[in-house]
């Protein structure tokens, strides 16, 4: 049996494991709350089976939040994995290179205006993320897409936008500032079915498109000259695929606010578990991201003594030490 087949089986085994874990976590999250619902009843109620109060609580109050966490987590992880691979930089991710910052500015502007309906917040977030992507893309297109330059420009934009968001929050009237602050800390609180259907549907579509491009990404991994020799315009292909990643990250931000570290962390976890990227590891990436964000939200909601802590705070608490460790390790590697 060839190594490719063995690697694929191992990846599929991990996929199955994470799928089971994810379903279990969904069941637990749906059954937990002020009204406790037994695990299986909660899962059944998700599909409208069971007595009316249970179905109402699960479908109307708990499910949107849970589904939002699953979809946003998967989208973030996929976006992070694509960004790191295309930019050949293990520290690149949408929340590092400014996309998430753009989404925040978009969302906070809508909240700040007070007059625009709140349902438009996700749309504004996607628009903000895309605007930043176009900005970075334009600056990189003119130069010969130096990856370092692209990442540096992104980091600068992210920092600048974070400052803008803070400034806006400080200048807001009190009640709007509260809303904006809650959004920018990355919370899944109060998601509605409309938001989940619109953003979630878009995420599924874009993720599907991304999965179809796996061959192009693998060819780009060989370097620009080899990719060119194999009939791919490397610059155009790389920027096109990056745009897919940006749309995914912006849609995720529209659902969950700017969640840090999921996009950065999950690709490294997957690489540890399943080795170098293949089409099958894409599925594992999505499942791991979904599990991680849903888990973080569950911990924030139920297991911590502080009430109303956003999921973003949990992922950041996990992610920050991980990032430091990763940097220390890559530094050691480059020294040896």
């Amino acid at each position: 049996m060839s190594a490719i087949v063995i690697a694929r089986r191992r990846t599929l085994a991990w996929c199955a494991g994470f799928a089971v874990l994810l379903v279990a976590l969904v069941g637990v999250a749906l059954s937990t709350g002020r009204l406790h619902i037994p695990f299986l009843d909660a899962l059944r109620a998700l599909f409208g089976v069971g007595d009316r109060p249970t179905v109402l609580v699960v479908q109307q109050f708990r499910a949107p939040r849970v589904i939002a966490a699953v979809v946003a987590g998967a989208a973030l992880a996929l976006a992070g994995s694509m960004t790191q691979r295309l930019l050949r930089n293990p520290l690149a991710s949408p929340d590092v290179i400014g996309v998430t910052g753009g989404a925040s500015v978009g969302a906070v502007l809508v909240i700040a205006s007070g007059s625009v309906p709140a349902a438009l917040t996700p749309v504004a977030a996607v628009a903000g993320g895309l605007a930043v992507a176009v900005l970075i893309g334009a600056s990189a297109w003119r130069s010969q897409v130096s990856v370092t330059r692209l990442v540096l420009v992104g980091v600068a934009i992210q920092q600048g936008l974070a400052a803008v968001v803070n400034l806006m929050i400080v200048r807001f009237p009190q009640e709007l500032a509260g809303q904006a602050l809650q959004w920018t800390s990355g919370s899944l609180y109060g998601r509605t079915w409309t938001e989940v259907w619109v953003a979630g549907g878009a995420i599924v579509a874009v993720a599907g498109a991304a999965a179809l491009t796996h061959r192009r990404v693998a060819v780009l991994d060989l370097g620009d000259d080899s990719a060119g020799g194999l009939g791919l315009d490397p610059r155009r292909a790389r920027l096109g695929l990056l745009m897919l990643a940006v749309v995914l990250a912006s849609l995720a931000a529209a659902l969950s606010g700017p969640i840090g570290f999921v996009a950065l962390l999950v690709p490294h976890v997957v690489r540890r578990l399943a080795g170098p990227p293949t089409p099958a590891t894409l599925a594992l990436t999505a499942l791991t991201g979904a599990t991680l964000l849903l888990g973080a939200d569950y911990v924030a909601l139920n297991l911590l003594p502080i009430h109303g802590l956003p999921a973003g705070a949990v992922t950041a608490t996990l992610g920050a030490p991980w990032l430091l460790w990763l940097m220390a390790r890559s530094e050691r590697r480059s020294l040896t």
């Binding site: 490719i4 370097g223 060119g228």
Partner: protein, 268 residues
């Protein structure tokens, strides 16, 4: 002599610097062509131009009479394969997975891996002698084995023309010869047209049917090594006074630099 790949008044630039100027070239079909010249003469740039990796600022490159920039990239990649000078080996990729990527121009977004694809990969693995290494990570192979794996990728592409940019760099002498023998076989049994950039004039003279000498971005000479490689040309292009003698093994021209006056520091 027939020639599918040719250039006409080709000019290539990096930023504002002209690297290749007004170059007319005909690459003979079913032959091995070696491009030689001093460092920074533009020989690798010329190869990148032939492979459509660089857009000409004047003139052009034609394949079967059509400007290669008018041929869709994927279509061109079915006729023209390329091994760049320093390809990037993805982390932990196995030899077979690497060679499979050579099938990219033959696949569409929705197409699945076909029997023809697998056959091409098997032929390429066998031809380059890396069959037994197929499950090994490429980044753990020796330099010679790794180069063979990369050549296998280009073979899996199943192109009539193969461009190799300094395929022997970073290899020791034995592995240099292994790679050059492989190139000679690829040409001999498949009738493949091979164009390669080489550093060593002796190896170029031994392994090439056709020599292209580039000097300061312009064509200095082109033709069979026995006719092209003269003492006068080597002195003019490489600035090295020399004698050209028949290679005692093959009879091809061998460049022997004249002994220089011993430098003062070595006289005691």
């Amino acid at each position: 002599m027939t020639s599918r790949l040719a250039t006409r008044g080709l000019e290539l630039r990096y930023a504002d610097r002209i690297v290749v100027r007004d170059l007319d070239l005909e690459i003979p079909d079913h032959a091995v062509t070696a491009i030689v010249g001093p460092n920074a003469c533009g020989k690798s740039t010329l190869l990148r131009g032939l492979a459509r990796l660089l857009a000409p600022t004047a003139g052009g490159v034609t394949l079967d009479g059509t400007d290669i920039h008018r041929i869709p990239a994927r279509t061109l990649a079915k006729s023209l394969g390329l091994l760049p000078q320093q390809p990037v080996t993805p982390e932990a990729i196995t030899v077979e997975a690497l060679v499979r990527l050579g099938r990219h121009p033959h696949q569409r977004v929705f197409s699945t891996w076909s029997g023809a694809d697998q056959e091409a990969v098997e032929r390429a693995l066998a031809r380059t002698g890396v069959d037994a290494l197929r499950d090994r990570p490429v980044d753990r192979l020796s330099g010679g084995q790794r180069q063979r794996a990369w050549i296998a990728l280009a073979l899996a592409q199943e192109t009539d023309l193969l461009l190799l940019d300094e395929p022997t760099t970073f290899l020791d002498l034995r592995h240099q010869l292994d790679v050059l023998d492989l190139v000679a076989e690829l040409n001999a049994d498949g009738g493949r047209t091979v164009v390669m950039v080489l550093h060593d004039l002796g190896q170029a003279a031994r392994y090439a049917d056709h020599l292209v000498v580039v000097h300061d971005g312009a064509l200095a000479a082109a033709g069979p090594p026995g006719e092209v490689l003269t003492a006068e040309l080597v002195e003019r292009v490489f600035d090295v006074p020399c004698r050209v003698v028949p290679d005692p093994e093959t009879g091809t021209p061998l460049v022997v630099p004249l002994a220089r006056k011993a430098s003062p520091s070595s006289v005691h």
